[in-house]
């Protein structure tokens, strides 16, 4: 290791070297056009290579930040078709605690006989509740109202022509299943 005794001093700042960058290219003797093309190719290649590689890492980071899985849901047993009469309804409580009103309209024995209404107001997400005396669903946030089918009858949801969201249902071997979210907060 060669060491200079004077290396303790600050490097001299000669004025001609201070600011102006000397020639960046070392080989001034090459053919200008070829040199220019190669250098530009090199430059583009470099830029592209760096952009793609670091860009890929960036894309991975973005994907990482995006939720890994959709909200976990599951098909859960509700009732057997025989004991669920046409014209009746029941309240099913999902594992998250959310109440779902399930009503049977027809008796064909398929999932189309049933409707499962979520109690989340389509306006801004507050929880609606059933008013027995008025035979309607009522949302306390902005006075939205819905008929027993879930169609909006008053308030902002009516203006927007919305209705209560429905949960998917299926019938298998004479048994009714509903697809509900299962993860409880906390």
């Amino acid at each position: 290791m060669a060491r200079d005794e004077d290396s303790t001093s600050v490097a001299p700042k000669s004025s001609d070297e201070q600011g102006s960058p000397p020639d960046s290219t070392a080989d001034a003797t090459e053919d200008p056009s070829r040199r220019g093309f190669l250098s530009r190719l090199g430059g583009i290649g470099m830029g592209a290579g760096l952009a793609v590689s670091y860009g890929a890492v960036g894309a991975m980071a973005v994907r990482y930040l995006y939720p890994a899985k959709p909200t976990p849901t599951n098909w859960l047993f509700v009732a057997d078709l025989v004991s669920f009469a046409k014209g009746t309804s029941m309240t099913y409580t999902a594992p998250t605690g959310a109440p779902v009103v399930i009503a049977r309209k027809g008796d064909a024995g398929t999932a189309d006989d049933f409707v499962a209404l979520s109690s989340t107001c389509p306006h801004l997400g507050c929880r609606v509740h059933w008013e027995g005396q008025n035979k309607r669903f009522y949302c306390p946030c902005h006075n939205g109202t819905f008929d027993p089918d879930g169609t909006a009858t008053g308030g902002p949801p009516k203006t927007a022509g919305q209705s209560l969201p429905r949960y998917p249902l299926k019938v298998e071997a004479g048994l009714l299943y509903i697809e509900v979210p299962t993860e409880k907060l906390g």
Partner: protein, 553 residues
């Protein structure tokens, strides 16, 4: 290094970096794929049963863990769905906010599994609790046990024993396989069963005066008679009128189909000296193959169809219940549907069944035909559908010929003769009316109930050792060395007591049987010897007479 070269190095290194990132991407894809494969076992507790699970997870964790591994759990069927009781049920009670019953009967299961429950209800399995009207019942209640509570012989150190339960052998033995008659304690000390409750078609009792006498503990829970519960006998007679117990085969609380497909499951009851089906299966080539190829047999598959999900070896379930490719994959919960001989009685019967799934005992061919809804041949054909997955038709028919021959041989050489001799003894008053109080009754019982059944079952499932050494050899020994001498002894004893006519009648029956070609080996040499001696004696007597006559001048 010039700038140019540095730029090129950067290009190359970026390329290497991108290559490593491609590897990262591949690993991520693999991870996601693996996650997808694992992700499906997701059990969420339905809200209605959440309290049950939270508490029982601590108090009886085994039940909850079993349940978690079940298909019920995956589909969101939990505690309340099965244990829920209706208002008015005899055994219903309030338990931390839910109206439930402890015992889940086939009626409860049929709410969702109606077809299977109905099929099971029609089967002989469901009628297993009807042992009470059979000989076995006498054995358990009189011979082994006592039809009463009786006083102990002497005090038991360390325990206070006032009365001895004479029904204990019945309760812990027979009824644990056959099923108990579920009883509730009554406030007047008696028992309340389905007979007293007289449930209607909805399972609810119709006799309110009986219901009002049901004894309850301090929490309001009806008290189940200890002798009758716990019990998962397959023919359990339930309080709601339904017969049977689904959990006999589909053990709770995971109700595992995998377990029900394996011979050990059936083997809980179908084993032992009087019907060693499990041991016979294990001896047979089927059992040997199963033991070896078990892991390849896809036991966890949701459907378990022979020829589609597995083909390596049959288990009990394969032949007697499971679906196969030739019957459209249809399972039956009535094993009787595929059985052509019933080897239960002393004399095996051809399984022509009537509309109630009962074996027709009618002898007249015309009457038989009129009653028959499902013939033995139809049943055999259903069984042959299973055999045909591995065996050619000739192989199968020849086997059935071997089997038929053995059953009929046993019937005709030992069973019917035995029955005839026993009938003769009874008719001629050489036996008391009480069963099992004389040695010959035991002898006869062993012959058809134990050894005879072993031989027939052994033949039915190709277990030669059970057919021969545990079977026909022992039948023959029992017949010739014990049964016949005992019967003859009884006759001679009657003769000694002056009942010569009856004794002769019985001896005639016995010798009539023994002189038949199939039995004559037993008697012919001795007979010849006796004849020779008599002839000798006669000849000697004649000579003496002649000599005496000659001496007279």
């Amino acid at each position: 290094m010039t700038l140019e070269r540095k730029r090129i190095v950067i290009v190359i290194m970026s390329g290497a970096f991108i290559a490593s990132l491609l590897f990262v991407q591949w690993m991520e894809v693999l991870r996601k794929r693996e996650e997808l494969g694992k992700g499906q076992a997701h059990v969420s507790v339905p809200t209605a049963s959440k309290d049950c699970v939270d508490c029982h997870q601590k108090s009886t964790a085994g039940i909850v863990e079993h349940w978690r591994g079940s298909t019920h759990a995956k589909k969101g069927v939990a505690c309340v769905d099965c244990h829920t009781a209706a208002e008015g049920d005899a055994d219903a009670y309030q338990h931390y906010g839910a109206l439930i019953a402890t015992i889940v009967t086939p009626r409860d299961c049929s709410r969702c599994h109606a077809d299977v429950a109905n099929e099971f209800a029609a089967s002989h399995h469901a009628k297993g609790g009807n042992i009470l009207a059979s000989l076995d019942n006498v054995l358990a209640e009189n011979v082994e046990g006592a039809r009463m509570m009786f006083s102990p012989h002497a005090p038991t150190p360390g325990k206070t024993v006032d009365k001895v339960n004479g029904f204990a052998p019945l309760n812990s033995g027979c009824k644990q396989c056959h099923g108990s008659r579920v009883a509730l304690e009554s406030i007047d000390g008696s028992s309340i069963t389905v007979n007293e409750l007289a449930p209607g078609p909805d399972g609810k009792p119709t006799k309110s005066d009986v219901v009002s006498k049901i004894a309850k503990n301090k929490d309001g829970v009806p008290i189940l008679t200890a002798a009758t519960w716990p019990n998962s006998g397959i023919g359990r007679i339930n309080l709601d009128g339904s017969l049977g117990s689904c959990s006999a085969c589909h053990s709770r609380h995971d109700f595992s189909p995998r377990r029900a497909r394996q011979p050990e499951n059936c083997g809980k009851c179908h084993m032992g000296p009087d019907h060693p089906q499990k041991e016979i299966y294990e001896e047979s080539k089927h059992g040997v193959a199963f033991r070896d190829l078990r892991e390849k047999m896809n036991l966890d598959s949701p459907t378990w169809i022979l020829g589609k999900d597995y083909s390596e070896a049959p288990t009990c379930a394969t032949c007697h219940m499971s679906g196969n490719m030739r019957n459209g994959g249809k399972i039956t919960h009535d094993p009787g549907q595929r059985i052509s001989w019933t080897n239960r009685p002393p004399v095996s019967l051809v399984m022509d069944t009537d509309k109630d799934h009962k074996v027709i005992t009618e002898l007249d061919p015309e009457k038989r035909r009129a009653l028959t809804v499902d013939t033995a041949d139809q049943k055999r054909t259903r069984m042959k559908e299973v055999c045909g997955h591995c065996h050619t038709p000739d192989y199968v028919s020849n086997f059935y010929k071997q089997y038929d021959d053995l059953v009929i041989h046993f019937n005709e050489k030992f069973a019917r003769p035995g029955q005839t001799i026993m009938a003769a003894l009874r008719k001629n008053e050489m036996l008391t009316t009480r069963e099992f109080d004389e040695p010959i009754e035991w002898t006869w019982y062993y012959l058809w109930h134990h050894e005879g059944r072993r031989a027939r079952h052994g033949a039915s499932m190709m277990a030669p050792d059970y057919t021969q050494w545990h079977g026909m050899y022992e039948v023959a020994e029992r017949f010739y060395v014990e049964f016949i001498p005992e019967a003859q002894g009884l006759a001679r004893e009657a003769a000694d007591h002056g009942r010569k006519e009856q004794a002769d009648a019985v001896l005639a029956v016995i010798s009539g049987i023994l002189e038949k070609p199939e039995h004559v080996w037993y008697v012919e040499e001795r007979k010849k010897k006796e004849e020779a001696e008599r002839a000798k004696a006669e000849a000697a007597g004649k000579e003496t007479k002649e000599a005496k006559a000659e001496k007279k001048p």
